[in-house]
Amino acid sequence: MSAHLSNGRVNLNILREAARKELREFLDKCAGSKAIVWDEYLTGPFGLIAQYSLLKEHEVEKMFTLKGGRLPAADVKNIIFFVRPRLELMDIIAENISEKNGRPPQMHSPRDFHILFVPRRSMLCEQRLKEQGVLGSFINIDEYILDLIPYDGDLLSMESEGAFRECYLESDQTSLYHTAKGLMTLQALYGTIPQIFGKGECARHVANMMLRMKREFAGSQTQILPVFDSLLLLDRNIDLLTPLATQLTYEGLIDEVYGITNGYAKLPPEKFAAQKKQGEVGKDLPTEPKKMQLNSAEELYAEIRDKNFNAIGAALSKKAKIISAAFEERHNAKTVGEIKQFVSQLPHMQAARSSLANHTSIAELIKDITTSEAFFDNLTVEQEFMTGVDTDKVNTYIEDSIAQKDPLIKILRLVCMQSVCNNGLKQKILDYYKREILQTYGYEHMLTLNNLEKTGLLKPQTSTRNNYPTIRKTLKLWMEDANEQNPNDISYVYSGYAPLSIRLTQVLARPGWRSIEEVLKMLPGPHFEERQQLPAGLHKKRQQGENRTTLVFFLGGVTYAEVAALRFLSQMEDGGTEYIIATTKLINGTSWIKSLMDRPEAP
């Protein structure tokens, strides 16, 4: 179930086990049968920590979704609310358990109520419960510190959707506090990280909090040999461009097209129907979307997910050959021993075959899209912007797309991209786009446009100098001859564009940021380096040729393509650094822009 977490350079299963242990301890605190009332938002992230079976082992008999009104009937001793510390949720809980709403008391045996706050308990919420007159009804009020959730063998996510919006739009730094706390937990398990690098306001803030917390916890330090050599904190807003571009890795495209939430993708069912027994095809096509878990536990997926989509066909057919060759082996198996060995491998081979079938279907689905003219035109415009072609003029493709009322998010992604690549748009052009959008999609989007301007995704040009070309050239953000089949540079993930964030990471490892001071100054926020004292005797003695391990933390989200690029760097033979990736949330241009939209509620 969780083996894939321990395969990486750093065993992230330790973190998952720590989280599971804490969950079990809390559940055991509430003796007797239990029902859990879920804040719906939390079920996804919790799924990465514990399955229903774990809960069941601890006498959880029923699960409900938190909603207004009275609680559903359940013949259990304990009712536990798993919630985020949000005031509006407190009001719902109060409504759930207040006597006025309850059934006549004789209908059910007395029940114990508990609250588990995730990731942290909040005085503000407890105060609200008190005001509502229900605080006293709770036997246990506890917190479940779930900051960083192991997402894959080299990937941690806080699964906090709103983090970018909160930090850069609303100046609410709550998620940064949780980040710092999460990093402290990580250090408690994996040792103090001796070096911290960072770029951006939020990065600075998180580093400051970490150093402060370290002082606060002085004396209770754990004596663990550090697993991470350094930590790199990166603000999302130093690289607004990357998430706007369409990801072109296999995993990135699945995310772009179907969306991956909490490690699961929902795919259209038609293509998968045929895989059932052949006789039944056509009788009842499944109507429910097929839910697939996507992580490195699946051998084939781990192999292909970070490839450029154009290299997927070849990879799949190669794999198909290997698998069928493996099945052919049976003809060569002559002796009983050989046959026995063959049979013992069967389950593994069958799993590989069904995995191959699944991914062939997905690849076909995606291919239909990537070969469409619309996709091609869109990509062409994106690449024009990234290479700096005509970024200072109104773009006809965008104009036509608006006129044809293509999805608003697509338009916003393109307009923002043009603005970012031009270091802001001329006032006239900006106003033109804005007016076109308002007239076409409705004036209510004024608030969204305002949000985009506040976060810097969309902005009027203030100085005549556009520094994007300088950044592009210095950091080699555009590589003309990107090799998609056998990549030799990270630019393959966007078929030419090398993500700025990852270039910064790459340069930091070698030759160091000093070489790009100029560019760093052009990007927003300070860059810094901090050192954390290690207790004597914990200094790592590096073996000759041993790689460094760097934790890269993206504050405000990271895309699958960026993750792929970092994995590519980890695997480079002369790279010298292996990366573990952490983020507030895995994002793509669409989900990202969506999180910044404001939709006034209609009456």
Binding site: Y177, H205, M209, R212, E216, A403, Q404, L438, G442, Y443
Partner: protein, 862 residues
């Protein structure tokens, strides 16, 4: 070594010894006469309440507190009411139980801490007797009142008074009683003449029914486990026929055993649940004893009780013999885990069973391995070859390991450092001849003894035995030293034992600092300085706790100074709020980064301050302000508006009104909100937003008019959607008007009209439209839109009009491969030819394919 056994007295199988702990340092003129005495177990402090020399109304009794060695720690005249009983809590606090049921609590140094009452009815009836007892729940108090009712408090720190049921036939105080803790329940066992009762929360159960049958040695004990089930037990024989009355009872330190003393001079020992009898002894003394306590070490086979009369101290065990000591002064017995301490006016002694390890080694003519090893070492020191003989003897029996173990263990039981050393040296000597003997027991015993010897020191005066020390743990010992303000010693012990800093040295320093801040005569500055210098580098110090203590003593300024040293800003906040330093609390909360904490302070400020000041405060703290805005956005929309107003944030006000307008159902209200938005945007010099909002209003008005006139449902649609709706419903004139009024770009309007016409299959109108003037979007869209509507016939009409660059695309759109090929070849564009080729299928005309391939190769050559 013979002298070691000099003070040993045999009793049955075992030996008892009485050793002197201290010569008391106090000078009491009349010894302990006329004194109320309480001494805490585990070598704790001693409290005396001495009656005045000459009883007169003006003279007051004197309350004195001493260490176990008799060093004075506090002394003051008692000014409160008459005291019935003194007792010590587990945290070394003194409890003074007054006649009126008030219990006053003092610390070790006689400083008053607090008081509580044992109930209102006591005031009238008075306390006749009281007992202080210890249980896993803490320190408890039990009293019996003049009305013969018992009241219990199991834990004085979490006071819950329990009045126990009435005892039938009891008048005044019972002849004797004890408090028992069994099965997590606290009960009282009492004797009223011949009758024994168990009192618990709900019932009073008679326990022993002594049959009046003469010469019957059997008694029935009826133990009621619950009101419904009555179990009948036969009591063990023991109470002599004439004797009926129980005059004294004692319960052991662990609450496991009970001793009863009858007026016939018989002593019965058994388990506290009265199920088993251990032994019974006739002491031949018929006077009721002054005090009776258990004297039994853990794991000992023999039960024994120490009974004290005026001049006699008697140890009774399993056999009929007893040990008797004469007492030459008024004394008090203190029950310990592993013996009895006897405190007199001039001496402090420990009476205990000699542990078996010591017996084995020191018993005369003992051949136990330990004894032989000790002998061997003695000879070795004398450089005698006999050492080898002894060693050989031990090794032949292969009991050298056992010998070492015995010596180490015995060292722990010995009080004299010299004896300890002798034994440890012998052990160390024996160890040399052993391989693989684990060093830990020896090392830890050496450490333990070093600690024990230092606290037994006369000046410290804590006569702990090794057994007690292990039971109480180092943590508690450190606490006790801290209570006595013996900070340097506590720190030294922590360092010596390498206790982790935050539970060792840091904890001691914190207590030191808490004590320091109470020194009223010293100025704030110097205290703060002293504290910071001492605590500076100590890890895990909670300055906020120290500051809280300073604040409790009324030293707010000092508290603030101390808080400055607290590294955890989160910890500073609650205290700062308590001290009404809310501004400072706010900045500290922000510093901590914990937004919940910031919210907490903000909510607090909101309730404390008037609105103006509150807003001003927030204005100076941007982090708090934006958090508060978030809060208002979800909870208090109106406040949000006020906030923007105060900051003259017209942009946000504009947005606010726009948002509000969408919540409004009535169009007029909506328009007026939008107008407010326009005004605000103008003030914010956001021309674009103002204009766009005006446009929005214009559109809404237009939509309403049309809805009213023509019965359309346009309200709420975007401009684009409105135009589309108008065009599809043939309101071309109105559409034209909107197009002009809103200055819709031609391109977009053309797209719009084109799609609208195609959607309703108005091909005629489309043709007219195409001819109306030159299309700003070209004619490819015409082709594509027609194809989209599955009308290839119409589409073909526009192919000829398409610009040369888009010809190929147009031909392909209508599926005309030849046309596309023609156009591509004409344009000699390699890319376009390839596109056409990619659309070719196996059924395509061979000739065409060849032409295309040829054209491509020529194009490529260029």
């Amino acid at each position: 070594m013979a002298f070691i056994t000099a003070n040993w007295n045999p009793l049955g199988e075992a030996f008892y010894r009485k050793i002197e702990l201290y010569e008391m340092g106090w000078s009491l003129r009349d010894g302990l006469k006329e004194c109320l005495v309480a001494a805490a177990p585990y070598g704790g402090p001693i409290a005396l309440l001495r009656q005045p020399q000459r009883p007169s109304s003006s003279a007051r009794p004197q309350l004195e507190i001493y260490s176990s060695s008799g060093a004075n720690m506090a002394s003051f005249p008692w000014k409160s009411g008459p005291v019935r009983q003194l007792g010590w809590t587990v945290c070394d606090d003194l409890l003074c139980i007054q006649e009126d049921g008030t219990v006053l609590i003092y610390d070790l140094f006689g400083a008053f801490k607090r008081h509580f009452s044992m109930g209102n009815e006591v005031v009238q009836n008075q306390v006749l007797e009281a007992k202080v007892f210890h249980s896993p729940y803490g320190t408890g108090v039990a009293i019996v009142t003049g009305a013969s009712r018992f009241t219990l408090a199991t834990n004085i720190d979490d006071l819950k008074l329990r009045r126990l049921p009435e005892v039938p036939g009891l008048q005044g105080a019972p002849s004797c009683w004890v408090v028992l803790t069994q099965d997590r329940q606290t009960k009282v066992l009492l004797a009223n003449g011949v009758d024994l009762y168990i009192l618990d929360n709900t019932s009073c159960t008679p326990v022993v029914r002594q049959t009046q049958t003469t010469y019957s040695l059997l008694c029935l004990i009826i133990l009621a486990l619950s009101p419904l089930t009555v179990c009948v037990f036969q009591t063990p024989p023991g109470l002599s026929p004439q004797a009926c009355s129980i005059v004294n009872m004692a319960v052991s330190f662990s609450y496991k055993y009970l001793a009863l003393f009858t007026d016939s001079g018989h002593l019965w020992m058994g388990s506290a649940n009265l199920k088993d009898k251990l032994s019974e002894v006739d002491t031949k003394v018929r006077t009721p004893p002054k005090q009776m306590v258990w004297c039994r070490r853990p794991k000992s086979q023999q039960p024994s009780v120490v009974i004290m009369w005026d001049r006699l101290l008697l140890v009774a065990g399993e056999c009929t013999d007893t040990i008797q000591y004469t007492l030459d002064e008024e004394s008090v017995c203190v029950a310990e885990l592993d013996g009895v301490r006897i405190i007199g006016g001039s001496r402090h002694e420990l009476l205990q069973e000699v542990p078996s390890a010591c017996q084995d080694i020191f018993k005369i003519a003992s051949m136990a391995p330990g004894a032989l090893l000790l002998e061997a070492h003695k000879e070795y020191e004398k450089s005698s070859q006999k050492a080898d003989e002894y060693l050989r003897e031990i090794k032949e029996q292969s009991v050298l390991g056992e010998a070492v173990r015995q010596c180490v263990e015995a060292a722990g039981y010995e009080h004299e450092p010299e004896t300890q050393k002798t034994l440890l040296r012998a052990a160390s000597f024996g160890k040399c001849f052993l391989s693989n003997y684990p060093p830990e027991p020896f090392v830890s015993m050496c450490r333990d003894l070093k600690v024990l010897n230092s606290v037994r020191e006369y000046t410290v005066g804590i006569p702990l035995t090794h057994t007690q020390y292990k039971q109480m743990t180092v943590q508690v010992l450190i606490d006790r030293l801290v209570y006595r303000k013996l900070y340097p010693l506590a720190i030294e012990i922590c360092r010596y034992l390498k206790t982790p800093e935050y539970q060792g040295v840091s904890r001691v320093l914190k207590h030191w600092a808490c004590c320091k801040v109470q020194q009223k005569e010293e100025p704030d500055e110097s205290i703060a300085h002293a504290v910071s210098v001492k605590l500076g580098e100590a890890a895990g110090i909670s300055y906020s706790e120290i500051a809280a203590r300073a604040y409790e003593c009324g030293r707010t300024e000092l508290a603030i100074k101390l808080l400055e040293f607290e590294p955890r800003s989160g910890e500073q906040v609650p205290l700062l709020l308590k001290m009404k330093r809310s501004q400072l609390a706010l900045s500290k909360a922000i510093e901590s980064g914990d937004t919940d904490l910031v919210y907490t302070v903000v909510t607090y400020l909101k309730n404390e301050m008037n609105r103006g000041d509150f807003f001003m405060t927030l204005r100076n703290q941007p982090v708090a302000l934006s958090l508060y805005r978030q809060f208002c956005k979800h909870q208090e929309q109106d406040t949000l508006k006020d906030l923007f107003n105060q900051d003259d944030d017209h942009q946000e006000l504009g947005n606010f009104y726009v948002k509000a307008s969408y919540k409004e159902k009535k169009l007029e209200a909506r328009l007026s909100l939008l107008q407010s938005a326009v005004d605000e945007y103008n003030k914010a010099k956001n021309e674009f937003a103002a204009k766009a909002t005006e446009e929005e209003m214009k559109l809404l008005r237009f939509q309403r008019r049309l809805d009213e006139e023509k019965g359309e449902a346009l309200l709420g649609l975007s401009l684009q959607e409105t135009l589309h709706a108008l065009l599809t419903s043939n309101f071309h004139k109105q559409a034209e008007q909107l197009y002009r009024d809103f200055r819709v770009p031609d391109k977009r309007y053309w797209w719009l009209k084109l799609t609208a016409l195609a959607e309703k299959d108005d091909w005629e109108e489309m043709e007219k439209f195409a001819k109306s003037k030159k299309s700003p979007i070209g004619y490819l869209p015409f082709v594509e839109v027609c194809v989209k509507q599955h009308n290839k016939y119409e589409a073909k009409k526009y192919v000829s009009k398409v610009t040369p660059e888009q010809k190929v695309k147009a031909h392909l759109a209508i599926g005309d491969l030849e046309g596309a090929a023609e156009a591509a070849i004409e344009r000699r564009s390699e890319g376009e030819i390839s596109t056409v080729l990619s659309r070719c299928s196996p059924t395509t005309d061979r000739a065409l394919l060849e032409r295309l391939n040829r054209a491509r190769s020529t194009a490529a050559k260029k």
